[in-house]
């Protein structure tokens, strides 16, 4: 059993390397990854009298969220169109292996791009109070949001525009619900309830703790980490089940 799992993991890494070469190592994707957080930062900062460490925390959460969910949703529809999915379906890899491969590439991309807001923060004199927690938070959030992207990609279509529209419809409202713009403390009770069902809330809250120090966070650190793990498990299980259903419809 263990050698089989190891074998499938090696194949997942092969799929991840393929994804990185085909979908991530592209000029527009990298430019999007670097520029979009920078523009978001400027949009946040200009004309608002908010502390920089507050802005950086929200920006980092949002950056991981957008980058980790940016490419994963389009891989399955693209490969349906190019018939490459049939190639993977004929190979000795399970659907879970394919999805883990797609997720690993996305995690790596999300983690690398998250360095941009951190470096921006350093440039503006924002220090990291809890670097270890921040590292754990970034990795966990990148996994969680990449798995969320896999749920979006399960739509049985070969049209990437359909998937992108659907994911944007879900992603943008989440940004406004998750304490990115307004601290959770300041939200009304119904706003806090809504914020609790968004995974973005927990990474943003962790970032606040890491950049602004204890007291800036609304939930405790273990609670935030636990919530992200729960969302990761929910998204991954849902992605596997949904892809198992949608894969035959794609082929």
């Amino acid at each position: 059993m263990v050698p089989e799992i190891q074998g499938q993991m090696r194949r997942a890494f092969a799929i991840a390397r393929k994804d990185i070469r085909i979908y991530y190592l592209k000029g527009p994707v990298i430019i999007f990854g670097v520029l979009s957080p920078s523009f978001l930062f400027l949009a946040f900062m200009i004309g608002r009298n908010l502390p920089v460490d507050f802005l950086i925390a929200g920006l980092l959460g949002m950056t991981i969220f957008f980058t980790s969910t940016s490419v994963t949703p389009v891989i399955a529809p693209t490969e349906t169109q190019t018939r490459n999915l049939e190639r993977l379906a004929a190979a000795p890899v399970s659907i879970t292996t394919i999805l883990i491969g797609d997720m690993l590439a996305s995690v790596l991309f999300g983690m690398l791009i998250s360095l941009v807001p951190i470096l921006l923060g350093v440039m503006f004199g924002v220090g990291v109070a809890h670097p270890l927690v921040l590292a754990v938070a970034i990795v966990l959030a990148a996994f969680c949001f990449s798995a969320m992207g896999l749920v979006f990609s399960s739509t049985p279509t070969s049209m990437t525009s359909t998937v992108m529209m659907m994911s944007t419809m879900i992603k943008f409202p989440l940004v406004f619900l998750s304490g990115v713009f307004i601290p959770i403390h300041d939200l009304p009770a119904w706003g806090q309830a809504l914020a609790s069902i968004s995974p973005l809330t927990y990474i943003t809250d962790l970032c606040r703790y890491c950049f602004q120090g204890a007291g800036a966070n609304y939930y405790s650190v273990p609670m935030n980490i636990f919530a992200l793990v729960v969302f990761l498990v929910i998204f991954m299980v849902a992605a596997v089940k949904l892809h198992e259903r949608s894969l035959p419809m794609r082929l």
Partner: protein
């Protein structure tokens, strides 16, 4: 790999798409080292069958064993022993030929050192070595197809499934692919070949199956199939002057007459006797024969007889099928 006689076994294989029965309870057994041809008109269920046999889609009913492994229960092990060339070539166009081959090696768990040596060998064999670092989107159709076949061979599979591998290719690429298939078969590999080209099936296959309306209409070696089908002996005759085909139908032993260009085809079950009657007929009418040839039934004739004009399934009962 398990020690089995039949490398591919399908029992009661069925695929429904809603109300449509695409494949209807078919049974197949392909022996080790055999080249098995799978023929049928468009929409007959060929590609659906191949997709089920390669584990790409799940059958609605039925069982599949690949090299002794139950494909539905143990798909990873079953897929590890097979190479697949799908209907449409599907190498990753953004990757080079080399990277595509290495990806396949990784997906099939081939050790890196073996993978490199095998990729070099295959690139040379398929005439792609000088383009190995070029992205495959710059390749011609023939080159892409050769690469896809090379990709399917990266794991040195015991069983190779090919769905229309030479469709639409130039003569040189098609010939190269046929030569490779023959070489592989000589090395004991089992090949399941779906093709529209009757001559290709006739030349390469030890046995062929003809599928029509999702059911197997016949399974036999090509020559046996031609002999068993009967009634397809033909005389190809060219007359000096035009002869009315309705007159030719009256010749004893002639079952059908068709004209094509300057040739007339007389269908008969007894070519020898019919030749005598034809010569007598011409002598009596002072008709000069320019050429006269006896043609044996071709696989295409068998195919047309079994699948053409919607009569295919009526013929099924007449054909002795041999599924083992």
């Amino acid at each position: 790999m398990k020690n089995v006689t039949n490398m591919i076994v399908a029992e009661g294989l069925t695929k429904n798409y809603g109300e449509l029965v695409a494949v209807d309870h078919i049974d197949l057994k392909v022996a080790g080292g055999e080249i098995f041809g799978f023929l049928g008109p468009n929409g007959a269920g060929k590609t659906t069958t191949v997709r089920m046999l390669t584990g790409i889609i799940r059958p609605t009913q039925g069982r599949i064993h690949i090299a002794g492994f139950d494909l539905l229960r143990d798909p990873i092990k079953a897929k590890e022993v097979m190479g697949v060339v799908p209907e449409l070539s599907n190498a990753y166009t953004e990757l080079s030929a080399w990277k595509n081959l290495q990806l396949m090696a990784e997906l099939y768990g081939v050790p890196a050192k073996t993978a490199k040596a095998r990729a070099e060998e295959l690139l040379v064999r398929f005439g792609l070595h000088d383009r190995k670092d070029h992205k495959t989107k710059t390749f011609s159709k023939g080159m892409k197809q050769r690469l896809v076949i090379a990709m399917s061979l990266m794991s040195d599979p015991e069983i190779l499934f090919l769905d229309e591998p030479t469709s639409g290719l130039d003569v040189m690429s098609a010939r190269m692919i046929k030569d490779v298939l023959q070489e592989l078969n000589n090395r004991g590999k089992t090949i399941f070949l779906t093709t529209h080209y009757m001559e290709e099936a006739n030349q390469l296959c030890n046995r062929v199956a003809i599928i029509n309306h999702g059911k197997i209409a016949a399974i036999s070696p090509p020559e046996e199939l031609k002999a068993r089908i009967g009634g397809l002996g033909r005389l190809e005759v060219s007359f000096k002057s035009h002869v009315d085909s309705s007159d030719l139908r009256s010749i004893s032993g002639v079952t059908d007459v068709r004209e094509s260009g300057d040739k007339t085809y007389l269908y008969t079950d007894e070519p020898g006797t019919t030749i005598q009657h034809l010569v007598d007929y011409c002598r009596a009418g002072s008709i000069k024969i320019v050429t006269l040839n006896t043609l044996t039934p071709t696989l295409e004739d068998v195919f047309i007889k079994l699948t053409g004009n919607g009569r295919g399934m009526e013929e099924v009962a007449e054909v002795v099928t041999n599924g083992s």
